[in-house]
Symmetry: C2
Subunit: 194 residues, 2 copies
């Protein structure tokens, strides 16, 4: 997944803004597929309103990998950079408004950015953040029980739990919807709120 230059590095806005004119605005309903697993990513996606998830198919059983919300951007990075099929599908959860920037312009943009002094340092930082994110996800999967993962989600990213339908949460946590229900009811008993 890519990052969004604009929000993360204001000093790069000037570059980003040059490409605004090449973006396409889309208003799309829930469950619209923006990139299909197995296809090659052709555009960078920026979310103005709504939310999307990335997932992969496992015998008709979706596994959600990540959620994205307003003012976040994404693309299948490996697919983008190496021109290989995407591991994931990208799909809206709610009806959304997104902007699409075709790959050729992203490549151009990256090329322009490579002229910026110390851009490599930025790039290193960006990637090490992404790597950190994925290794943390991995570690959490290895180390934590689904119940712990749910509690982490609740405390660290409560907006996800509030906004996203529960079966997507279950698929993100790596458990069945039934078991997530169990976890919730167990937690509810432990900590009654009044």
């Amino acid at each position: 997944m890519l990052f969004h230059f604009k929000t993360q590095f204001p000093e790069l806005n000037v570059f980003w803004d040059k490409y605004l004119e090449f973006q396409t605005r889309l208003e799309i309903p829930a469950k619209t597929v923006l990139l299909e697993e197995g296809k090659i990513s052709q555009q960078y996606i920026f979310i103005e309103k709504g939310c999307v998830r990335t997932f992969f198919n496992n015998n008709g059983n979706d596994k959600t990998v990540q959620f994205f919300f307003e003012n976040e951007g994404l693309a299948s990075l490996e697919s983008f950079v190496n021109n290989i099929p995407s591991q994931f599908t990208i799909e809206t959860i709610e009806s959304s408004v997104v902007y699409l920037l075709p790959k050729q312009y992203v490549t151009q943009l990256l090329h322009e950015l490579s002229q910026v002094p110390d851009f490599m340092q930025l790039l290193l930082q960006i990637f090490s953040r992404r790597l950190t994110h994925y290794t943390k996800e991995l570690v959490s999967f290895i180390r934590d029980t689904p119940e712990e993962r749910y509690q982490n989600l609740l405390s660290e990213r409560p907006h996800i739990v509030q906004r996203v339908p529960q079966h997507y949460i279950a698929s993100y946590l790596g458990v069945s919807t039934v078991h997530l229900s169990r976890i919730k009811s167990k937690l509810a008993k432990g900590k009654p709120h009044f």
Copy 2:
């Protein structure tokens, strides 16, 4: 984790070789800690002989994340780049011979490399490979059963199974040693070799 410039990109050897003189050679026994979880990575490690693993501690219960062998190099990337504590411990599995290149020289090396035309493209490729690796690990954890993960390991990286003690494999697969034994004995029944 970093990559090893030298083996992956021969055209960069000339840069790498300039730093050979700053490397320290170490002969160390099994179970030697090269970087401790929570400390800041101070050097890049290159393995001449032997093998090492990275793991994190979970209530005295190690969880192995990755294995490295001859002619591979590693460092805690995030720790390196951002000067933050490493999420993992790096430890030898067998008695090994390693070379250490202090961080300051790696930084210098990276700076020199940033002068190379199109180095950014290389860097993008390097990082997208790393990202792909971690996302594949993550996907495998989410999608596959421990038995499937073991079979994947057997078919794709049999040298690991042959060389690494079984309890490290179990910890890498995310199961108890007892359960890995069960998996092995189950597979042995299914496919008798004679």
